[in-house]
């Protein structure tokens, strides 16, 4: 170490490209082998794990959906018993929301934000590694309990008193609540990383008005997570307290209140929708601009729409509670906000349409998914306007109309853009192209299958079919449509099968992509595909909103960064003027152990409150190991 200090620091100044790459690679690469893989803090590696994990959960959640559709295809079917059915729809909802949708959007942020803002790693990379292990263990907790026939059976919003100590026997509701704790912990960690990466690690010159729209959307998403997740943290913890040590938060006989749960849950639950939707909106903005071959129309209104949506998201929660008997005037304030959020949503749609109108669209698979998104999301948005109305909602609340509505918003509004984004960024992440032919098939089947499956549910809802029923009686007029829906679901499934086949095949043997296969404008395309461990040979200097479209003679870059330690540039928040050369932490195994210790404490506390006391000791030990300086060059200043 002492010798290290004596050697003069090696900077990239005047180094030959290949020599520079060798040095950077030596400094930034993870060490080989199993422990090296556990210890890595490379945002791209971790994001890839996150994405793969999230898609595995999508497949599992999808299989549950298929099981439900088989059960509902006929009246009084006996494919599943009510207990199993309740576990299945709870696990389906929880998996899709907490283990697929939120993590996959965060994962895209973890992968793309550092590249798009032109830095070498995410802020707090060890926290990032920690967050992945936490969500993985949280997901395993839910799915192992499902395999053991002890999964939660109280629905993904787990209303008390059904989930409370009196009516929710066993540990099922506790497992649900603790699984939530895992996912919120991981989401909060990622949110902090994204905020700080966007605020402090943007390439010099990337002032606020030059931040790529995807990064803006991820920033707003991160702030929503920071403000909303504490609510669910409070909810899940107090639920466990009520069940474990007999606190009385939700017991009306002792001054508690059943509606308190709904307030706290939906104060998180509604922003949750925008946590999922806003990143998708950022993806759409990116894809639309690239394949219209022009800069996005209405950058400023789009940023404003993201921010306004992000704030408004916190004033909508009561529209999930329109039939609980609150004063109509108070409810109507939420009607006003819920209706008004259609204005920023409309602004986004209009700006994307205008970009397509003004540009020269190239119909690649990512753009097809975006077109599918516009078609379906507008329906979801409009049914959103419908359920925002107190009287309208009185009829459709908790029916299949709502099931249709939120699948249009979440699948149409978020999964379609996400699949487009996977086709779009797959070449960057793997260095290989996905197949256009299979992509078109996948899009066609998913689009068709989705609409055939979910559109009829609007009608079922108006015909009076409540949601969360494990069966219905033959004398009700729902059988025909249900059978139709179940058959259509097969079309949807086949589309997803093709998508996964395409992804796996292309990963191994797709056509090599090159650094910039789409001739796109943002910084992630300025480096190799897949990007090296250090992301950029030299940190770019941003002189325009689409740096790759406006470069005249080569990409503007910086010099003077040290290459024998992990170094990146810290810049100011508004103007992105360089402020310091900051070091980025080295690989470490401690986040992994910290995640294990945290998980033991959380899982133990399902069974005994003492787990919190004894479990915090190993957590403290691992955290000290994590933060204690090791005297590396990264520690110099």
């Amino acid at each position: 170490m002492i010798e290290d200090r004596k050697r003069p620091p090696l900077t990239d100044d005047g180094l030959d490209d290949s020599v520079l790459e060798r040095h950077l690679s030596q400094t930034w690469s993870a060490s080989p082998g199993f422990w090296g893989a556990l210890a890595t803090v490379d945002h791209k590696v971790i994001a890839r794990r996150y994405i793969v994990t999230a898609f595995v959960f999508l497949i599992l959640g999808g299989l549950l959906a298929v099981a439900m559709r088989i059960q509902l295809a006929w009246p009084e079917a006996r494919f599943l018993d009510p207990d199993r059915y309740n576990q299945i729809f709870t696990t389906h909802g929880s998996t899709m929301m907490f283990l697929f949708a939120v993590p996959v959007m965060e994962a895209m942020a973890i992968y793309l934000v550092p590249l798009m803002v032109g830095t070498r790693n995410i802020a707090f990379p060890r926290l990032n590694a920690f967050s992945y292990w936490i969500i993985l263990i949280g997901g395993l907790l839910l799915w192992i309990s499902f395999a053991l026939d002890a999964a939660p059976d109280v629905g993904w919003f787990a209303y008390v008193p059904l989930s409370g100590p009196e009516y929710g026997p066993g540990k099922r509701a506790d497992i649900w609540a603790q699984m939530i704790t895992f996912t919120e912990l991981s989401a909060l960690a990622v949110a902090v990383e994204i905020v700080v990466t966007v605020f402090k690690q943007r390439a010099p010159g990337m002032s606020l008005d030059r931040i790529p729209l995807l990064v803006w959307s991820m920033l707003v998403m991160a702030f929503i997570v920071i403000m909303a997740m504490p609510a669910i943290m409070f909810a899940s913890s107090t639920l466990i307290l009520d069940r474990l040590v007999e606190t009385q938060f939700y017991n009306p006989a002792e001054g508690g209140d059943a509606l308190l749960w709904q307030h706290v849950f939906w104060f998180f639950g509604h922003p949750e929708v925008y946590i999922i939707f806003l990143p998708a909106a950022g993806m759409v903005s990116t894809i639309v601009a690239t394949f219209s071959r022009r800069p996005i129309f209405g950058y400023l209104p789009l940023v404003m729409a993201f921010i306004a949506t992000g704030i408004l998201a916190f004033g909508l929660w009561v529209h999930h509670m329109f039939v609980v008997g609150l004063p109509r005037l108070g409810e109507s304030f939420f009607t006003a906000s819920s209706m008004a959020i259609a204005v920023p949503a409309g602004i986004q749609i209009f700006c994307w349409l205008a970009t397509l109108w003004l540009g020269r669209p190239v119909f690649t698979t990512p753009l097809l998914f975006v077109i599918g998104f516009i078609v379906t999301f507008v329906i979801g948005g409009l049914t959103g306007v419908m359920v925002a109305s107190v009287p309208f909602d009185a009829q459709v609340h908790d029916t299949y109309f709502v099931v249709a509505h939120f699948h249009y918003v979440l699948v149409g509004g978020a999964v379609f853009p996400l699949l487009g984004a996977i086709y779009y960024w797959f070449p960057k992440m793997t260095g290989r192209m996905m197949s256009e032919t299979l992509g078109r098939w996948a899009f066609g089947l998913i689009f068709l299958g989705f609409n055939l499956t979910f559109f009829p549910m609007h009608i079922l809802g108006l015909q009076g079919m409540p949601r969360r029923v494990y069966t219905y009686q033959p004398e009700l007029p729902w059988a025909g449509l249900n059978l139709f829906i179940s058959l259509s679901a097969l079309v949807l499934v086949s589309g997803f099968v093709i998508f996964f086949i395409d992804a796996l095949r292309s990963w191994r043997s797709g056509k090599p992509a090159g650094p910039d296969p789409w001739s796109a404008g943002t910084l992630e395309w300025a480096t190799a595909s897949p990007p090296p461990a250090y992301n950029f040979r030299r940190i770019p200097v941003v002189e325009a909103r689409e740096p790759l479209w406006s470069r005249s003679e080569g990409l503007a870059v910086t010099k003077g960064l040290q290459v024998d330690r992990r170094e990146l540039i810290v810049s100011s928040v508004v103007e992105a003027l360089p402020e310091a050369r900051e070091s980025s932490p080295r690989d470490s195994i401690w986040p992994f152990w910290a995640a294990i210790a945290t998980s033991l404490m959380l899982i133990g506390s399902i069974f005994t409150p003492w787990a919190v006391v004894w479990g915090s000791i190993p957590i403290a030990v691992t955290l000290i190991g994590w933060f204690w300086p090791k005297g590396t060059v990264e520690d110099t200043s």
Binding site: M304, A308, G330, F333, A336, S337, A340
Partner: protein
């Protein structure tokens, strides 16, 4: 109001007014119903006025040949301020149309 904060009036004042008004909606209907007052009307339109003000304050910075980033922030604030003023006007409409005692 200092100049630094004034730049962000649209982003702070307008959503702030809206958030407070939304919270007040949980309390004022009970008060209005009990005492026959119209506090929710006053609160809503007061908040709408505040939001409009929040949109107009940064508007003044448009003409002054500000640097690019400053202009961007000012415009952003005006748009956000207007959006929230709209929401507050809709909430105001609710207070005019609905009886606070209604369940």
């Amino acid at each position: 109001m200092s100049i630094g904060i004034a730049k962000y009036a649209g982003l702070l004042l307008a959503p702030g007014a809206w958030a407070i008004n939304t919270e007040l909606a949980q309390i004022l209907p009970y008060v209005d119903c009990g005492a026959g007052t119209s506090w929710s009307v006053v609160a809503s339109f007061g908040a709408a006025t505040l939001a409009l003000a929040g949109a107009l304050v940064p508007h003044r910075r448009f003409a002054q040949g500000e640097p690019r980033t400053k202009l961007f922030i000012a415009r952003l604030n005006v748009l956000v301020g207007l959006a929230f003023a709209f929401v507050l006007l809709l909430q105001g409409a609710a207070t005019m149309l609905l009886d606070p005692c209604l369940r």
